[in-house]
Symmetry: C2
Subunit: 299 residues, 2 copies
């Protein structure tokens, strides 16, 4: 377990879900025993005797709900340790709790977030997928400014993305969203849909099957009748996929990274600084779903 930013809700979720987590895994927490004790004390709780802490970061004062360089450095250390335990075979998989990107930046970490780091560590175009059992959304672009999205919609790179996705995902039609309002409305509202059409046609040709369909109208792709046709969607950018997904399934949703040599799943929520260490009992559903999905991916 990559414990996430200690100023956020991650530690509280791990602690609250510990008994449930033990039913499907033998959790190893990448946080030092001292910092786990401090975080538990801030929550007014004690650590279970079998809460196994393997982290080695230096102790610091936790600032609940604040961006802090120390917390950023610690969450980065936790994440990289969890990955290496998995690479070395000392852990079966990595489940990540939320980091805060500004804390990583404050700590001088050169990666924007988990997915960036994974791409560099494993030299592969890791694909970020979010969803819940039976409905997933893959992001063609993810943590980049919206301004940079349009120029990234190129037929060649999208085709390569679709082909990599097809190798990682079980059979079934995959819906590919357009970029513009109304998928461009026949070109009246933008023309990147031509590139998306070309990528779909090329990917289907290479696969010898009409696996991909689209471009779908983005604001209608999450309606019940579309979701039931496409248990898997490809979104062109972060909020296009995640805003409707979270609106529908927030506390259930999880994050899976495809295309890596290790299994990595994650909760699909942030650090929630506004409710951290305030006795608000953050939901543990996404975390437990991530553990369940991890088990399914390892099966």
């Amino acid at each position: 377990m990559s414990i996430g930013d200690l100023g956020g809700i991650g530690f509280e979720i791990a602690l609250s879900a510990h008994e449930e987590a033990k039913k499907v895994a033998c959790p190893l927490y990448c946080v030092s025993p001292e910092m786990a004790r401090r975080a538990a004390a801030l929550l007014g709780r004690s650590l279970p005797s079998d809460f196994e802490c393997v982290g080695q970061e230096a102790a610091f004062e936790i600032q609940p709900g604040c961006v802090s360089a120390q917390a950023g450095a610690a969450s980065y250390a936790s994440f990289t340790q969890a990955l290496e335990l998995s690479v070395e075979g000392r852990a079966d998989a990595v489940v990540t709790l939320p980091i805060h990107k500004a804390a990583w930046a404050a700590a001088g970490v050169k990666y924007k977030g988990h997915t960036d780091y994974l791409r560099d560590r494993f030299r592969t175009e890791a694909i970020m997928v979010l969803g819940k059992p039976g409905f997933y959304v893959a992001l063609f672009t993810d943590h980049i400014p919206l301004r940079k999205v349009c120029d990234r919609i190129q037929a060649g790179s999208l085709e390569a993305f679709l082909l990599q996705l097809a190798r990682s995902v079980e059979a079934g039609p995959i819906g590919v969203l357009g970029l513009n309002p109304h998928a461009g409305d026949g070109g009246v509202l933008g023309d990147e849909e031509r590139s998306i059409e070309a990528a779909i046609a090329a990917a289907n040709h290479a696969l010898g099957a009409a696996r991909f369909e689209g471009p779908l109208i983005p604001d209608a792709a999450f309606l019940p009748r579309v979701r039931s046709r496409y248990p898997f969607l490809v979104a062109m950018y972060h909020d296009q996929g995640l805003a409707p997904l979270k609106a529908l399934y927030f506390e259930e949703a999880i994050n899976v990274t495809l295309g890596l040599p290790i299994v990595r799943t994650s909760v699909d929520h942030g650090t929630a600084f506004d409710i951290a260490y305030r006795g608000q009992n953050p939901s543990i559903r996404s975390y437990l779903n991530a553990l369940g999905a991890t088990k399914a991916l390892l099966a």
Copy 2:
């Protein structure tokens, strides 16, 4: 009632909802008696004797589920007639059924859609609002290519928009969404949020009250705890607001245009060419909600 594109589901909805509609209004349908008869015949149904048709468009052959210049010209004529009846006081309000933008373009109509036309007809920055009673989303930009959105995020024009909105919407906090993933994550993922912050501060200063809050993280703004705090949101672009809204409330949602000298509401769905005239009984909920909201706005 602006009858919408006769190749789509609008006429069927108006016909199916006629008895319910009479309970809250005296519906006047802006479609010619001959075209109403033809559409009803295609549906295998007859027209009620009190289905009052006031349109004057020339008759043409309806092509179910197809973009057609004739249908585009007819839906444009229906819309403009409905507006003028309202301006002249011969109708209390306009409720619009869906047009198809490509059909308007095929017919040589120089407007992209309803909202464009309204802005020109009434020489005002009409504000497009979608939602359902108790939760509405206003769009700062609407029917433009995504590529053009980022440059439109300017503090001055957003401030003017917020001030116009504040004049049209009852008391209560209004949440303003950021533009980038994670609202820019402190600048790491884009910096348009600085302009949004400046616009919020300037609008609140001009109002002498902290009416607007944000920038909110876009993909978290539709979660239950955020929705309950902000019954009214401002989205920076079309799909940012509409994709989550439709995912949550599709068949209930309606469209209201603020800032006009007349009352105009609309269904929040398209022509649904894929199910038009196919015995699929399209939902009449959005249409009846629009009628209900119209009555509330006139009260």
